[in-house]
């Protein structure tokens, strides 16, 4: 396992970087919306989840 250097994710290097950065961007956006966005509606909807995941809240 430690010696198999080549990714089993079937992507070329360029695609892998593109997909990785895309995933980080979209993922951050979603987590920010659910966990950190300073909107009363988003806060109240996600309230219990924010507390549960330990996001700073209130």
């Amino acid at each position: 396992m430690a010696t198999s250097k080549v990714s089993s994710v079937p992507l070329s290097l360029n695609d892998r970087i593109t997909a990785g950065i895309l995933a980080l961007l979209i993922g951050s956006f979603l987590v920010f919306g659910a966990g950190l966005a300073n909107s009363a509606v988003l806060h109240d909807t996600a309230h219990d989840v924010r507390h549960s995941l330990g996001f700073p809240c209130h």
């Binding site: 396992m1 250097k5 990714s7 089993s8 994710v9 079937p10 992507l11 695609d15 892998r16 970087i17 593109t18 997909a19 990785g20 950065i21 895309l22 995933a23 980080l24 961007l25 979209i26 993922g27 951050s28 956006f29 979603l30 987590v31 920010f32 919306g33 659910a34 966990g35 950190l36 300073n38 009363a40 509606v41 988003l42 806060h43 109240d44 909807t45 996600a46 309230h47 219990d48 989840v49 924010r50 507390h51 549960s52 995941l53 330990g54 996001f55 700073p56 809240c57 209130h58």
Partner: protein, 262 residues
Amino acid sequence: MIVKTLLAAVVAGLIAGVFMTAAQQARIVPLILHAEQYEGKEPASVIPGTDTPAAVQSENHEHSSLAPPSFPTDILDALSPVTPAHAHEGEHDDGGIMFGMSRFSGTLIANLVAGAGFGLLLAGVSMLIARPVTLSNGALWGAFGWLAIHLLPAIGLPPELPGFPAADLGDRQAWWMATIALSSVGLYLLALRPEIAAKIIGLLLIAAPHVYGAPQPADLSSAVPAVLGAEFAVAALATALAFWIVLGIVSGILNDRLARMA
């Protein structure tokens, strides 16, 4: 192929989000509802001869919807779309749960969104460092995600119940995000790089935000019993760990399938 890889991450996140919603109902939600009975109250106004603050006793009759859920009526109430439960009644005038959903639906949606987000973050990191998430290492990936995003920040800012004193929200969010970023890089250097120097730098990065110190409230007194806070912190961290292990394993299963198809 890029789209398929991202979709696999989203699907893993959605599955883990559904699991998280179920897991939260066991311990987290009852503790939050219990703590909300004390929220906004003055500390230490206890009725003689009881352990219950005076405000809570009268409060119980006025806001029965905030009482801890008793199975199964409250579960049914929570599922009903006609009971718009506010997270904090009267606190935000323009707040309220999206589309007038019930509190449970709001929690489910938020878990799905957060799950998909964490799934994408996990996939993104794994692709950028060329270490694929597979079925055999999925649980480890999950555990490291939990370390970086939950346990290490929790050293400075433990998961808190509503009603506990806390420092300025912006300060805490900034410290929290910086700690996650430093912890992630630190864990990568510590666990995945062979060089001794890298491991030492990794440890230093992990320790740095705690040496700097998390923002703390000026006044620590709270009307919410401390025992509830302790129970909640452990329950929240344990639930988050379960979520991350499910997320890692499901991501691994989906990635393995995707690799076999290609």
